[in-house]
Symmetry: C2
Subunit: 257 residues, 2 copies
């Protein structure tokens, strides 16, 4: 008996934003290896499965990428249907590619099930389209995790040509803002900080680039993951959100200026 | 009675990649306004609804954006549950932002339901992660539709710093390739042309940047929409796909060099 690994994107948090395919695979799974960004509510979708946490939490190191590869390979070789569940899309800063390569090398059959990426969904749920006729015809996605990775990209970009989306960017917001301002982006460029995008705890700070670095967030959120968006499209948030996407109260509560 | 509009991303084509929320809203919909990129199989998910095509087909102009806004507003005011169904994600080159703004202006309640974007899923399903440790820590997404929109962005980007994803890029592949080569991207940079990503007709051409412009595609596909990917991550396709994501035979059939 050979098992099978499904590397699945769990989407931005709300279990309702899982794909039909992801929900079906969870229902039939024997084992689910999941990360910190996966919502606990998703457990009820995989009642048969053993759930095993392999992420990092609050600064404590996780079990390590190599150990995850070994767990995946071993469970599949025991004949299990394994779901590797990752927040957002598994191939966007999710190290899903490394796991796919490891499974391929081990001869373990697997598939990749794309998910709704927070890079696009977090802005959308706050009323911000990453592209919009007349405002932006491109977007770039970087991770705020490592400055040496995002710095050369943001420095090479001509100011105001794209929407900039920074995943896991909250802790780096001051560095990001001064980098873009030094590169020539205008101080009043609209900017947003989005947290817990698709959950009931969603908050949005909407302001401008020169206020981004000093944006005051509730202390508990200051180091949490979250999405930063910079560009003219952010100016649409107020119009679009007024109707439905995030209850007004929550937007107002998070508003910084 | 006030109706409601749900602007929904249909994902890259396979109905299995709809979100749970999208499927539920389709099931209850009275009217579905859909685009050319929406798979006909999705109809069975909305058995109660009237389906109305508002896209463009084979060069023939569609009914126009203003007319779509009027249809949405009018149906909602008649009390209908309206689904506006768009390929991929509605806020990625989908003009979903314009529709949201129009609905907000008309006072019609609406929501945005993010979908799986082809910008990430088309590469993923061909075994290409848009980010990968050591190969790429960022990606930029442009549309191949209008050269004046993508040219300034691609010219501003330092070569080899990001993965470049071009949606609707097949017809522009020669222009795109010479632009990147002129900007200093190396000729052997891996490149891919991906079509019908999540359907049984999926094909992938895998080659290098200097071959991209002259890539021979089956004639029927030459002007079809599709996704182009340029960057080192494309080199992972062969390894990752060998296991599962696209049946080998289809990859081989589309292979150009």
């Amino acid at each position: 008996v050979t098992g099978f690994v499904s590397i699945i994107g769990a989407g931005p948090g709300d279990p309702d934003l899982l794909t039909l395919k992801a929900a079906r695979l969870l229902r039939d799974a024997d084992l689910v290896l999941y990360d910190a960004l996966v919502s606990p509510e998703m457990r009820r979708l995989a009642p048969r499965a053993r759930w095993f946490f392999v992420g990092k939490r609050a600064g404590r190191p996780g079990i390590g990428q190599e150990a995850i590869h070994r767990l995946l390979v071993r469970a599949a070789r025991r004949g299990q249907r394994v779901v590797r569940l990752k927040g957002g899309d598994p191939f966007v800063f999710g190290r899903g590619g490394e796991e796919a390569v490891a499974l391929a090398a081990a001869g373990v059959p697997f598939e990749v099930v794309p998910g709704v990426s927070a890079a696009i969904a977090a802005p959308a749920l706050a009323g911000i389209p990453v592209t919009h006729r007349g405002l932006s015809s491109a977007f770039v996605v970087v991770s705020g995790h490592a400055e040496d990775a995002y710095r050369p990209i943001l420095e090479s970009l001509e100011p105001h040509t794209v929407t900039v989306v920074v995943l896991m960017g909250i802790a780096s917001r001051a560095t990001l803002a001064s980098l873009l301002l030094a590169r020539g982006w205008a101080s009043p460029t609209p900017a947003a900080i989005l947290r817990a995008a698709s959950s009931p705890e969603a908050t949005a700070w909407i302001g401008t680039l020169d206020g981004l670095g000093a944006a005051t967030l509730p202390e508990a959120l200051a180091d949490s993951p979250g999405t930063i968006v910079v560009g003219k499209v952010v100016s649409l948030a107020t119009t679009i959100v007024a109707a439905r996407t995030i209850p007004e109260s929550r937007l107002a509560a998070g508003r910084g200026r």
